[in-house]
Amino acid sequence: MTTTLRPVPPRSQRAAGFGRLLRAEWTKFRSVPGWVAGMVAAVVVTVLVSLLAASGSGTDANDVPDLVTGPDGGLVADAFQFVHGPMTGDGSVTVRVTGQDASHDDAMAGLMIKDGTTPGSVYAALMVTPADGVRLRAMFDADVAGRDGVAPRWLRLVRSGTEVTGYESADGIDWAEVGTVDVPGLPETAELGVFVASPPDVRVERQAGSTSVGEVETIGRATFADLAVDADDAVAPERWSGTDVGRTGTGAVTIAGGVLTVTGSGDIGPDPPDDDPVQIGLFGAVVGLMVVIAVAVLFATSEYGRAMIRTTFAVTPRRGQVLAAKAIVIGGVTFVAGLVAAVTAVLLTRPLLRDAGFGPPAFPESSLFDGPVLRAVVGTAAMLAVVAVLALAAGILTRHSAGAITGVVLLVVLPILVASALPPGAAEWIMRLTPAGALAIQRTKDPTAGLVEPWAMVGPWAGFGMLCLYATVAMALAARSLRGRDT
């Protein structure tokens, strides 16, 4: 008892104090072998279940005849009615779209310049739509929005080298520039003309555990007048011919009294399959999640089982800081474990999935560092970490291990089960409003209702944001309950 301790110097005490607390909570975590083993188990389970899911998956997306691939090698839709003639070198074309049927929100009618008439070739197009106003699109992924409004509308497309600029006007007098797009690979002589397209309606039916997707063709119709080509070397519009690009079989062209009426079906744009091999490769995280929840809850409730919390709060009376340190430690540990699990699962499942049909062109090769893939992998780790913080807060609030574990697992799993059995609209709202939607962070593709997984219906950040909101509210409630509570 003769040891004397020098007092701690007062340098930046607050930060130093919290740093000490983080170290102490980390020591608490790592010194219970069961919790460390639990985190390792979460990693192993995530990888194994992902491998299982991958080995049970398959796709025939590459076996469909007449696959259309775009300039970047991915699958695209490229079907429409085209009334066209060749133009060599620079020039412009002007037309008045006098009317357009509202056959589909995304129906298109307007001007196009394209490398021939083979589906998948490069193009630029200026169009009116029933719901999205005027758009300038190119290369299946570029999309520039013009002003709102529907037909009647004047449109003008100007080619200069590989750059194509769009203009639009309500009256043919006052013109506004929509934008300029680059069309690399557009040949010196390209097909110039008017086009009409109308995408099919997608109908999704969901029943418990199964989803059926049906497509119903829609037929677009638009009328054009005042066609004028201004170029040194171009075929005059009167000698243009009609082509049913993509052979939809519904196209027709008629001319009466200077008005050109064109009907056509189909869509122009990226058309990747809904299936997402990265998401399949991360599927095990749903199961790993439950192990993480158990460990995080125990990290909190074990303090109460033996009145450990008294020692904890006697050592550090600042209870809010103790809670924050606990959250950072469990969240950080889970994030690292989740990252290891996600990277391992994606890399190990990749060859299995490629053998099962998930290869180019329907599923282009991707690197771990491609934006959406990186988002899915890091996002999976982040989602697990935030769920761990939510579970920690639930443990502090309930002080009851079994109750908190059951509650948080149900909060994540129950919405998935319920949403799987509901029609798409209701299912989507459940995914938007519950933490289960956070699983959407695992997807690298756009939201779709065409998959069994209900979380595929919401965007990656919408679901993750809602999970963060749940965790924040739970932490605030936990902090408030600690503040005044007797131990």
Binding site: E25, K28, S31, R310, A314
Partner: protein, 309 residues
């Protein structure tokens, strides 16, 4: 910082139970202060309030003049053993002390020092779940000593210790006080404190019964009584009671006599031809003194009647 504990007008209610009812006392430095009262008297509640774990409804508890919750590194000011079982069963003893040291900004070597102080070297690397109650008490005491604090509180530290352990902790408490620290030790068995405490705070039903030194309490409790051993117990009791004494049989052949001096007892017995083998001034035990004090103050009177020290 002064090494003392000051409790003023403390009141704490849990639901319909008034656990502490206007309690005030002081624990001065350099002495072992016994904190005594039957189970349920409010000892543990008071200690939790001193440690800022429970909030009092009224009154204040100060450690070295400050509220516990305002201390930045409390372990350097107050060490406490509340509940020896409050250890995660799979955590190694050394790690249990390590996280406390880290949170208090204490060096790692301090952990090894306190492990040595309580004699747990050989068990430091084992999970605390396998510890006997006595070993857990030692671990809890090590935790209390970690920050080398001027104020120490031990809630029933003798529980579960073997005779060697009890002797060890008595010596430890005395040496801690001798170094000038304020030491508060609670017990529901007064006898445990007989050779340890200098000063006593006796409470019952959440109220202060008395705050006194051990010597004064013993003197008051002895009250000039006489212990008598005789083979003719019944006759002796009749004769003495007839002479105005208060008599109580304490065994088959033993009687305690109050209200008469020793010489008068001997004279009365001789006059009536009653043989006796022993007459002596009665020396009250701390246990008896305490029972007298808390006879009305205990919630659980049965629990307050201890076997022996």
């Amino acid at each position: 910082m002064d090494a003392d504990i000051e409790v003023r007008d403390l009141r704490k209610r849990y639901g319909s139970t008034l656990a502490v009812d206007g309690l005030s006392f002081t624990v001065p430095p350099g002495r072992v202060t016994g904190f005594v009262g039957p189970n349920g008297a409010g000892k543990s509640t008071t200690m939790r309030i001193i440690l800022g774990l429970d909030a009092p409804d009224e009154g204040v508890a100060l450690v070295g003049g400050r509220q516990y919750r305002s201390l930045r590194t409390p372990l350097r000011h107050v060490g406490a053993l509340l509940d020896a079982a409050a250890v995660h069963p799979s955590r190694r003893a050394a790690d249990h002390l390590l996280w406390m040291a880290q949170a208090s900004g204490l060096p790692r070597r301090r952990v090894d020092e306190v492990i040595g102080l309580v004699g747990l070297e050989s068990a430091a690397g084992r999970p605390a779940g396998g510890f006997s109650l006595g070993m857990r008490q030692r671990l809890g005491i090590a935790a209390a000593l970690l920050g080398d604090p001027p104020v120490l509180m031990f809630d029933e530290p003798v529980n579960g210790l073997d005779p060697d352990g009890i002797r060890w902790i008595r010596e430890l408490l005395r040496s801690l006080a001798a170094e000038g620290r304020a030491v508060l030790v609670s017990s529901h068995l007064m006898g445990e404190l007989e050779d340890t405490a200098d000063h006593l705070v006796v409470i019952g039903r959440g109220r202060l019964v008395t705050e006194t030194s051990v010597g004064a309490l013993l003197a008051a409790a002895s009250g000039g009584r006489v212990a008598l051993r005789t083979s003719h117990r019944t006759e002796a009791m009749t004769v003495l009671a007839g002479a105005g004494a208060t008599v109580a049989a304490t065994g088959r052949e033993t009687v305690t006599v109050g209200g008469l001096p020793t010489e008068r007892v001997i004279a009365l017995l001789s006059d009536h031809g009653l043989p006796f083998s022993e007459v002596s001034a009665h020396r009250a035990s701390l246990e008896e003194a305490y029972m007298e004090l808390t006879r009305d103050a205990g919630e659980f009177t049965a629990a307050a009647v201890p076997g022996a020290s």
